[in-house]
């Protein structure tokens, strides 16, 4: 029995219920629950690393009739990212929300969001994925409007409606799959699905739905307002984790379930959209006047990078080179997750101190908040893809795949994207390190500055020097047709 697999879902869920019942203790319950979820994920990861992919058939019913939870390399990596990021953000949020009247609701929804993320990464059933997607979407929407401003509500509402549309597209894809193959279990489907109109249409619809949620150009327009207007800890997880969840699903579908269906053309289209996203998102980030808006546009660009991998993956022959590229994709996603959450938390610290986040008025930040300025710099390094961050390695491998496949068109995209990322990062740093009175002096290094800098360090150092673990984990697949 691998009942271990249920704990990453059960722990945060149970904590959420407790936090709802005892609102006065919600902060404690929230932080502790997040920490225990981290523990559960670590235990699961250890087992996957030691003994390969694991499966838990819930209720003892054979997968297909029942629902199976599965953990393999990819899901473990995503789980680790989400739980580590959420741990750090939780510590930050315990300060950020300490005076908010919506504190207890925040913690309940926070834990529900973690529940949803973990459930999504572990799910091995298509319809169950739909439910987790909805749970993720709804809890994210509610968290996003906790700021209470008109803009944040409007953005959250748009986010909700588009998310629902995306879910519907995903769900009709699921319906077609059930119609064509008579099961919803992903392991069975990984074997059964073959090229044909059913698989084609289902894949298109599901991908289309997920593209909305992962904010790929031109479906990105909801993201910048939603992510930039939410409270800082929420922005952090929205950009770092929630967007990644949809991306994770796309990867799962494309590489494990529909690997025989995917064609070069389809991958090329997504790659092109990704390329436009890189250029457009970076450009918009360069123009942005507010720190959080800049970070949100940068997310659009970073999502674009991830999609650049798809045509390359489709062109590479199955085997080591493809696994290397896939690992690089995952590494890039992870690095971005850590870096962007660090970025948003740092932005939150600045906003609380300065009362605004207008980039041009951030002079003096480096003097008043050295740790936070340092965090911004580290996160920026990871966003540009400079060493020793994980994204440097990923970009190296991305370029390498470009050369191997001969798909030269991506070369200028990557180059210009990198330079633009450098431009917007250093534009910000230029202001932050300039003298000025934009940010008042701080009394001491606050508890809220530490989580951000730790996240940034993970993105720049840990994922740089210990990245080979990613490549060791990625080939461990729970799906027969899949990555391995």
């Amino acid at each position: 029995m691998n009942n271990l697999l249920i704990w990453p879902v059960a722990v945060p869920l149970l904590s959420a219920l407790l936090a709802l019942l005892w609102p006065r203790r919600s902060t404690w319950i929230g932080v502790l629950g997040t920490a225990l979820s981290l523990l559960a994920v670590v235990l699961v990861s250890r087992q996957v690393i030691e003994s390969g992919a694991i499966e838990l058939a819930l209720g003892g019913w054979s997968p297909g009739l029942g629902i199976a939870l599965r953990a393999d390399g990819l899901s473990v990596l995503m789980l680790l990212m989400s739980t580590l990021v959420s741990m750090a953000v939780a510590v930050y949020a315990s300060v950020y929300f300490s005076r908010s009247e919506r504190r207890s609701e925040f913690w309940v929804l926070w834990l529900l969001l973690i529940t949803a993320l973990h459930a999504l990464f572990l799910s091995g059933d298509l319809f169950n994925l739909y439910v987790t997607l909805e749970l993720l979407g709804l809890s994210a929407v509610v968290l996003a409007c906790l700021g209470g401003s008109r803009e944040s509500l409007q953005a959250a509402l748009n986010y909700l409606v588009l998310g629902l549309l995306g879910s519907m597209a995903f769900l009709i894809g699921v319906a077609l799959i059930y119609a064509g193959y008579g099961t919803l279990d992903m392991a069975a489907l990984a074997v059964a699905i073959e090229s044909g109109p059913t698989a084609w249409l289902a894949l298109s619809l599901m991908t289309g739905g997920l593209l909305i949620k992962s904010a790929l150009f031109p479906l990105h327009f909801w993201l910048p307002p939603a992510h930039s207007n939410a409270p800082a800890p929420v922005s952090a997880v929205l950009s770092a984790l929630v967007v990644k969840a949809a991306l994770y699903l796309i990867l799962r579908l494309w590489l494990a379930l529909f690997d025989e269906v995917v064609t070069q053309t389809a991958a090329l289209i997504l790659g092109l959209l990704g390329g436009i996203a890189v250029l457009w998102g970076s450009w918009a980030a360069l123009q942005a006047e507010r720190l959080k808006l800049m970070a949100a546009y940068s997310t659009v660009a970073q999502v674009g990078y991830l999609f650049l991998f798809l045509p390359l993956l489709a062109a590479l022959p199955e085997g080591t080179t493809r696994d290397v590229a896939l690992g690089a994709l995952v590494l890039l996603a992870l690095t971005h997750g850590f870096a962007k959450s660090a970025f948003f938390l740092a932005a939150g610290v600045i906003m609380q101190r300065a009362g605004h986040d207008r980039i041009a008025e951030l002079g003096g930040t480096a003097r008043a908040l050295p740790v936070t300025a340092f965090t911004l710099a580290l996160a920026g390094v990871a966003l540009i893809g400079l060493p020793p961050s994980g994204s440097f390695l990923a970009k190296w491998q991305l370029l390498s795949s470009v050369f191997i496949t001969g798909q030269w068109i991506w070369l200028p995209v990557i180059a210009i994207g990198t330079l633009l990322a450098g431009a917007y990062t250093f534009r910000l740093l230029g202001y932050a390190f300039a003298p000025g009175e934009g940010v008042g002096p701080s009394l001491s290094v606050g508890r809220e500055e530490i989580p951000a800098v730790l996240l940034a360090l993970v993105a720049t150092l840990v994922l740089g020097f210990w990245a080979s673990a990613v490549w060791e984990l990625v080939p461990i697949s729970a799906y027969a047709g899949g990555e391995g």
């Binding site: 319809f127 709804l138 929407v141 509500l153 509402l157 409606v161 549309l165 519907m168 319906a175 059930y178």
Partner: protein
């Protein structure tokens, strides 16, 4: 199986009608109606998959899925309406 096909096709039409209206309208309430029609379309497809003629027992799995979907749909609708209401209040203030 013809009945099942009729309803499944109806489901497809409803789904796309819903998508169309979601794309064309920009006020919240019509969009919510549209999304609900979308959902109904998908549910109809599911249920027609379950139908195997009047004599054979139905496939209960899609029924359960649709029940779950219904509850999810109304939850989302309720949340969207609540957000919308708050926005209107703020506009009035």
């Amino acid at each position: 199986m013809t009945q099942a096909l009729i309803y499944a096709l109806t489901g497809a039409v409803l789904f796309m009608l819903g998508v169309r209206a979601t794309l064309l309208r920009d006020a919240l309430l019509p969009r919510l109606l549209a999304l609900n029609v979308c959902g109904a379309g998908v549910f109809l497809i599911f249920v027609s998959l379950a139908y195997r003629g009047d004599s054979l027992p139905v496939d209960p799995v899609p029924h359960a899925l649709v029940l779950t979907g219904l509850v999810v749909a109304i939850s989302a609708t309720a949340l969207a309406l609540a957000l919308n209401r708050r926005l209107r209040e703020m506009a009035d203030e």
